[in-house]
Symmetry: C2
Subunit: 299 residues, 2 copies
Amino acid sequence: MDLPDQITIKEVGPRDGLQNEKKEISTEDKIEWINQLSESGLSYIEITSFVHPKWIPQLKDAVEVAKSINRKEGVTYAALVPNMKGLERALEADVDEVSIFMSASETHNKKNINKSIEETYPVLKEVVTGAKEAKKTVRGYVSTVFGCPYEGPVDENQVVDVCERLFDMGIDELSLGDTIGVANPRQVHEFLCKMEHVLLKDQIALHFHDTRGMALANTATALQLGYHTFDGSLGGLGGCPYAKGATGNLATDDLVHMIHEMGIDTGIDLDRLTEAGFFIQDKIGKPLPSKQMQVRAKE
Amino acid sequence: MDLPDQITIKEVGPRDGLQNEKKEISTEDKIEWINQLSESGLSYIEITSFVHPKWIPQLKDAVEVAKSINRKEGVTYAALVPNMKGLERALEADVDEVSIFMSASETHNKKNINKSIEETYPVLKEVVTGAKEAKKTVRGYVSTVFGCPYEGPVDENQVVDVCERLFDMGIDELSLGDTIGVANPRQVHEFLCKMEHVLLKDQIALHFHDTRGMALANTATALQLGYHTFDGSLGGLGGCPYAKGATGNLATDDLVHMIHEMGIDTGIDLDRLTEAGFFIQDKIGKPLPSKQMQVRAKE
C-alpha cells in the first residue's frame, strides 16, 4: 500500500459540529474546549461561524470566542464567513483563515444559502477579495459533492465547474464535502481519479460524513490516491440534519486512530484529543457517536 | 478500481450476534427472525450454536430452532459445534454445515476454549472427520487473527500455521476473525498479500468487527484484493465483550449497503434485510448500532 507518511487533519467540530447541536454551549465552555483542542497537536481548528446569529444562534458569540481563546503558535484558527458583514466581524475577531461555502447542487445551495449557484459567486468573490486584502488565507467548502439530499447524484462536471470558479477567485484550499454521507469507496476512487487532471491534490481536503458508515473506507481510498488533508469533527459532534439521530461528521478521533494505526503521522496526541472529546460530550449531555470514545469510556 | 462483480455475505447474527446479547429471545422469535433472514436473499445463515447451554444459555434451544425453521432452497443453514457432543446434536438437528472454532493466539484460545492451541486440534479433527462422514461441509473460524485482547499483535506465522492445520483436517472454508476490531486497512492489505501464497482466496472469508469503525474500510481493502466472502451480523447485533457498550460484529446491513453502492451484487434485498433488523431490534429492546437502521428509522 502506497501511503503518505504524514497527513493533516482539520478539526471542524467547534463550527460544523456545534452548529448542528441543539444544546446551548456556554461561551466559556467553547473557549475551554478550543484551548484543549489547541493543546492536542491539531494544526487547524475551525473555531466558529460568522453567519448571522439568526440562522445559527449556537454560534452567536463568534467574536468573543475568537478573541478569547489562546492562540497557539503553529495552529491556524479559521471561521466560516458567508458575506461581507460576516467578514467584517471575522476580521474584527482576527481569525487566521476565512472559510466560504456553497453547494455543488442547485437545490441544496438554494435551501442553504437562499441563492442560486450563479447568484452565490459574486457574494463569495467579494468575501475572498476582502479576505485576501486583509492578508488572510481562504478555504472553500463545496457541499453535496457526492450526492444531494434533494437531487440525488450530482453531475461531476457541475462539481468541477464550481471548484474551478472558487479557485479562480483565489481560494487557497477546497474542501470537498460528502454532506449527507452517501459516497462509497468506488465512487470516491473514480471521482478523485477524474479530478486529478483538474484539481491540485495539495489544495484539496476531503470532508466525509459517516452517516452510512463509509467515511473511513472513503478516507482509506483517498489516502491510497495520495490525498493528505481530511476534515473531522471531534467525537462525531453534529449529527445529520437529514436523518435525525444518525451520524453526520466523521469523528476526528476515529479518523486519527485509523491513520495512526496505518503508520501515518498526524502530529496529534490521540489521548489528549479524546479527553477533549469527553469534555464536550459532558457539556452536550449525550453520548457522541465516536467509536474511540465508546471503547475508551469502557476500558 | 478492480472489484468482483458478485460477492457472498454470510449472516452470523443468530449465533454470533445473539450469543453476546443478554436479553433472552424466545425460540419462537428466533425462528421467525431466521425465516425472515431466509426471505431476504441471504444464501448463508449461521443459525445457532451447539456449545453446551451452560456456556451460552441464550442458545440452549439450538435443536428446536434448527428443526423448526423453514429451510429455503439455496440457503445454507450452519451452526457452531465445539466437540463431538455438539456434533451429535447438530446432526440430530440436520444442519447443512458445521462451524468449528479456535483462536490464533494462545491466551484467547485458552480463555475461550479452556485448552491450549495444541490440545484443541485433536478435538476439532474429530469433529471435522465426523461431520465429513455425515456429508456435511465444514467452516473453520480463526479468532484474534489481527490482534488479541490479551497478547496484542499476533505473529502472522502463527496465524498461517493454525489456518494450515485446519485446512489439513479437511475444512471447506476458513473465516479470518478480527475478534476485537483492531485491524486497519494497511494491516489487512499486507496480511492478505502475504497469505495469498499460502491460502486459497476462494476458501477464505473475512470476519471484521467494527469496534473502532474500521470494518468497512477493511472490507473495501479486501475487496480490492479479490476476496469475495464476508461475514456480518444484522444490525451489528452482539456488542463487543471486551468493551461494554462498544460495537462488535460489523452490521450486515451496512456491509450490504456499501457493497451494493459499489456496484457489486450480493443477491440480497436490503429493504427486506433491514426489516428483519428492525424485527430483532424490537425483541432485543434497545437500538442496534447499524447505520442503515439509524438512517432508515428516521426517514
